[in-house]
Amino acid sequence: MDNVLEIKNLHIDVKKDDSTYNVVKDVNVSIGKQQIYGIVGESGSGKSLTALSIMGLLANPPLHVSKGSIQFEGDRELLDMSFKEMKKIRGKEISMIFQEPMTALDPLFTIQDQLMEALKFHTKLSKSEMKQACIDIIERVGIPRPKEVLKDYPHQLSGGMRQRVMIAIAMLCNPKLLLADEPTTALDVTIQAQILDLMKELREDFETSILMITHDLGVIAETCQRVAVMYAGEVVEESDVVSLFHSPKHPYTKGLLKSMVSGNRHDDLYSIPGKVPSVEQMPSGCRFATRCPHVMDICHTQTPPVQEVEADHTCQCWLYQEELVKNG
């Protein structure tokens, strides 16, 4: 299968007070055609930074990609592209939606202005064609009374509506890849489900691949085919969704699954002890070592290698390395 996006050995560093710290380390992600690929992790795990680096929108300085490659549609290296080349890709071939629909739209422009803007950047349609395209897409993302809503300003719409508008802007030029950075986090639960359903529908209609970034395993289970679990800037486990939920390998993934809320439990909710290490105090071995229930001596000194523990299921943990050594 051809991959739409191929991230290889991506490293992102941050400059802080004349020192450089690593925030994203050796991330490898491949997103197939029409696939919904999930990245799950706590805040500060580097999942949003990974998405922003695809768009070339990292706040530089202080952040910058120090190593790696991001290949779009096989042979187009995004990291080598000039600003001008990136501009043509942003919003047209790769688009992005964000966590906060309340602040993601310019308050001083009507919805129509903000939609038209994307069309002006990327198409040569006439004004009436643009207007029709706006009405069509607004209708397509399930907003009632499209003609009236186009004349509204963002503050006149609810959070769910604004997120639909964001999706409309993103889908307007029929992108090959949609980056969704916590698209449902700021919405209430019923709206969340609607937005996720909409995204799944749009993927079918527009034949778009989606990179779904979330801290919510529920969203992953609901939408994704493949998933990468990120912790402190590293992908600690990567597999298809079924395999991840049925046989999680990494202690962090197990912890995450244990701390999910499910309908029929009465005991206290589990939480992983400790907190994500800060960039200044990143452990030298396994980055999860300080919080891991199965920690061993080697974890503190050496970074575990990425290991294929099952078919198409990789995990970065010394536990499985040991097992392999024992078994043979």
């Binding site: 501009k87 043509k88 047209k92 964000f98 308050p107 001083l108 994307a118 950047f121």
Partner: protein, 314 residues
């Protein structure tokens, strides 16, 4: 919107009433009076009381105020005690120059301050930003009379340039008029430029950090579109506020600047009138300047709702 404008206009009444009482009392409180300045200290009591009677200064103070304000309400600002000419005619006549000076200095300061503020925000923490911040700090902190004197000295000593000294109005000779007005406008506009520069830099910086800027970039916008179509428009409200406030400073500043550059504007009229204790002229002119200032701020407030759809006046 219309109802709001009418309400704001009605609110002008108590404001202007307060100012009229205040300026009237101030003029009564400063030592010396018009009769002594006209007749000198040698004057006989008889001639003094005759003149006082003629000007109505023998009446009780509330009566004097009533006589003045009841005239003002019907557009009669009285006549100058020194020249006998109607005050309002003098004010309007002189005001054209002061207005030109104010507008020209405001315009000059914006075309310099807003671009520099934007550049400083884009290139924050670089030497360019640092330079702009020093210029703006100097702008707000150097008093304009000092700057005026310095500028005139430098131009005359090193470049042997002297601005034309007899005033010609804009309609008579636009080129010569602008030659006269450009120096005082630069001096007067400097403080406003400094303030506007600082405000532009900080608000543009703040806007650029907002989420929606990231959305616009993600749509494929060039930096030009990001800065001019979105960041600047969003930054305009705080900038407009500071401009409205600075207009007041400009109007006040014209008094000194017109004196230094010997321009026959409203400021010069007021200063002369104060020295001569020409009460109707001072009172009329100050009331007029106050009116202009509150009107400008009303316009600024109305512009807010034009710029920002979230602001509606009911």
């Amino acid at each position: 919107m219309i109802a709001y404008t009418i309400r704001r206009l009605l609110m002008l009444i108590p404001v202007l009433f307060g100012i009229s009482v205040f300026i009237f009392l101030i003029m009564k409180m400063i030592p010396g009076d018009v009769v002594s300045t006209m007749l000198g200290t040698e004057a006989t009591d008889e001639s003094r009381s005759q003149l006082e009677k003629q000007f109505g200064l023998n009446l009780p103070i509330y009566q004097q105020y009533y006589n003045w304000i009841s005239g003002v309400l019907v557009g009669d600002f009285g006549v100058s005690l020194r020249t006998g000419k109607p005050v309002l005619g003098d004010i309007l006549n002189r005001f054209t120059l002061t207005l030109e000076l104010t507008l020209l200095s405001a315009f000059l300061s914006w075309i310099i301050a807003i671009p520099l503020g934007i550049i400083a925000a884009i290139k924050r923490n670089t030497s360019t930003d640092f330079g702009v911040r020093i210029i703006s700090l100097l702008g707000v902190s150097v008093p304009n009379f000092a700057l005026a004197t310095l500028l005139l000295l430098i131009l005359s000593v090193f470049f042997s340039y002297y601005p034309p000294s007899t005033y010609v109005s804009l309609v008579e000779d636009p080129v010569k008029n602008l030659q006269m007005m450009i120096l005082p406008s630069i001096v007067l506009g400097t403080a406003m430029a400094g303030a506007v520069m600082r405000m532009t830099r900080s608000t543009v910086l703040e806007v650029l950090r907002q989420d929606f800027i990231r959305t616009i970039r993600a749509k494929g916008a060039s930096e030009r579109v990001v800065i001019f179509n979105h960041a600047l428009k969003n930054a305009m409200i705080p900038i407009l506020t500071i401009i409205g406030m600075q207009i007041g400073v400009l109007l006040g500043g014209t008094v000194i600047i017109e004196q230094i550059f010997s321009l026959p504007g409203l400021g010069q009229l007021v200063l002369t009138a104060i020295n001569q204790r020409d009460y109707p002229v001072v009172q009329g002119a100050v009331l007029f300047i106050a009116f202009v200032f509150v009107m400008i701020n009303l316009i600024v407030d109305l512009l807010y709702s034009y710029l920002d759809p979230r602001i509606t006046y009911k």
